[in-house]
């Protein structure tokens, strides 16, 4: 499991990679939970584009993340889910725990104008 995070304005975007199963859960938890504790962010987005699968243990980490974010009223979103991961979210009802968006940009647009502007500027800089 690999993990990256970026900040766009007041929103943090986490990007895990690979399978979020028993073997990856501890590292995933260690990487993800500190983001939920950041007091300067008002929104937290997890980009699942590079996640092939998530098991119950990986979902448990997401629930810990969601609980921590809720304590400080931060919005949480899951985006760019591959079809299998989207099915697991639906069957486990985690699609009612997170706000669901097709893309990172859609989530940022819903959460914060300043985050969207920062994201668009970042993308323009990469062209």
């Amino acid at each position: 499991m690999q993990f990256q995070s970026r900040h766009f304005g007041s929103v943090a975007v986490a990007t895990p990679t690979g399978r979020l199963d028993h073997s990856a859960a501890a590292d995933f938890e260690k990487s993800l939970l500190p983001l939920a504790a950041e007091t300067q962010t008002s929104g937290l987005v997890i980009d699942f584009a590079a996640v092939d699968y998530i098991s119950s243990v990986g979902l448990r980490v997401l629930m810990l993340f969601a609980k921590a974010a809720r304590t400080r009223k931060a919005r949480i979103a899951a985006v760019t889910l591959q079809p299998i991961v989207a099915e697991v979210f639906a069957i486990s009802r985690f699609d009612s725990v997170f706000e669901m968006f097709p893309t990172v940009r859609d989530a940022l647009a819903a959460m914060s104008p300043d985050a969207l502007a920062a994201y668009d500027a970042s993308m323009a800089g990469q062209r």
Binding site: H22, Y53, S55, S56, V57, L59, R60, M63, A66, K67, I84, E87, V88, A90, I91, S92, R93, F94, S96, V97
Partner: protein, 319 residues
């Protein structure tokens, strides 16, 4: 071991199909029959048999009671939920009240929904019958007696005329009971519950209800995988969605369909039966959960397929 017959499958509280529920089913069935003619009862039966389960039938509402079909003359049953009442009535109807029978009763724990049927268990009132209650709880007899004390019930436990014995079974060791090898495992639930692994004639049934798998201890998952190992049938507490079981209903002592599939796949179980249904879920919701669980098994399958069923009052599973 030949199979299992389900007399009560609901968790926490008995429920009944109400008038609105019957009306919804009737409308759906009539809508499907529009323009069709039925020349005979056989035609009607064929039509009803072809309806989706949640339209043509119901999961039912009695609380936990599962009969094990051991192939022996003596009865074996798990838990004394309200489903033990129709179980007892069926046994009396089969043999008549004058033919003495022996009932081996394995109790997962003494929460109300798992013992509430005993005062209505007809065979307990018949002289000549023999009841043997097994469990891992030291307070099993006290709990069964207490629910029949004033002011909660009009007659006490001592009104029973069957011969009654209590046998404490220690967990994690194998016991020879009623021609079976029986192993108990302590489970995470308020006041503890015990799962049972029953082995006979090379076939295995695991009865594991009221058990929360918190996913925090790798050792716990390994231990339950071994407890379920190679079972022909695992009857599993799938009361909540995983999201509920890890959030608002964490520490309520119940599990999810997702965890059931993962454990049974790891243990190479042949069939997982979803059990201890949430009383708030209607037939349509339970049918949806069954379909989703089958899909989850399909997308996570790494070896042989795991059969998935959802228990209903009256279901019989043959191994």
């Amino acid at each position: 071991m030949r199979g299992a017959r389900f007399w009560g499958t609901r968790g926490s509280l008995p429920v009944a199909l109400d008038a609105a529920g019957v009306r919804t089913k009737l409308k759906a069935a009539l809508r499907g029959a529009s323009g069709r003619t039925f020349a005979s009862d056989a035609d009607l039966d064929a039509y009803v048999d072809g309806l989706p389960f949640d339209v043509g039938s119901t999961f039912g509402g009695n609380t936990s009671c599962v009969e094990l079909l051991t192939g022996e003359r003596e009865y074996v049953v798990c838990d004394l939920g309200s489903g033990v009442r129709p179980f007892g009535q069926a046994a009396i109807a089969r043999h008549g009240p004058a033919a003495p029978q022996t009932y081996h009763v394995f109790v997962s724990h003494v929460h109300w929904d798992h013992i509430m049927g005993l005062p209505f268990f007809g065979p307990a009132y018949i002289p000549g019958n023999r009841l043997v209650f097994y469990g891992g709880h030291e307070n099993l007899e006290a709990a069964l007696r207490r629910q029949m004390e004033p002011p909660s019930f009009p007659v006490t436990f001592d009104v029973f005329r069957a011969a009654i014995d209590f046998v404490h079974l220690a967990p994690d060791v194998t016991h020879d009971v009623a021609g079976m090898r029986v192993t108990l495992k302590r489970q995470h639930h308020a006041g503890d519950s015990y799962g049972y692994r029953f082995e006979k004639d090379g076939r295995t049934i695991v009865y594991s209800t009221d058990s929360e798998h918190q996913l925090t201890e790798p050792g716990e998952l390994v231990a339950f995988t071994e407890f379920f190992r190679d079972a022909d049938l695992v009857i599993f507490d799938a009361m909540y969605s995983l999201a509920e079981a890890t959030s608002v209903k964490a520490d309520w002592g119940h599990s999810s369909n997702i965890v059931g599939v993962e454990l049974c796949q790891a243990a190479k179980v042949k069939e997982l039966c979803l059990f201890h249904h949430e009383p708030a879920l209607d037939d349509a919701a339970l049918a949806k959960m069954l379909a989703e669980t089958r899909r989850f098994e399909e997308i996570t399958r790494g070896g042989a397929p795991l059969r998935i069923s959802a228990a209903y009052d009256g279901l019989e599973i043959r191994l």
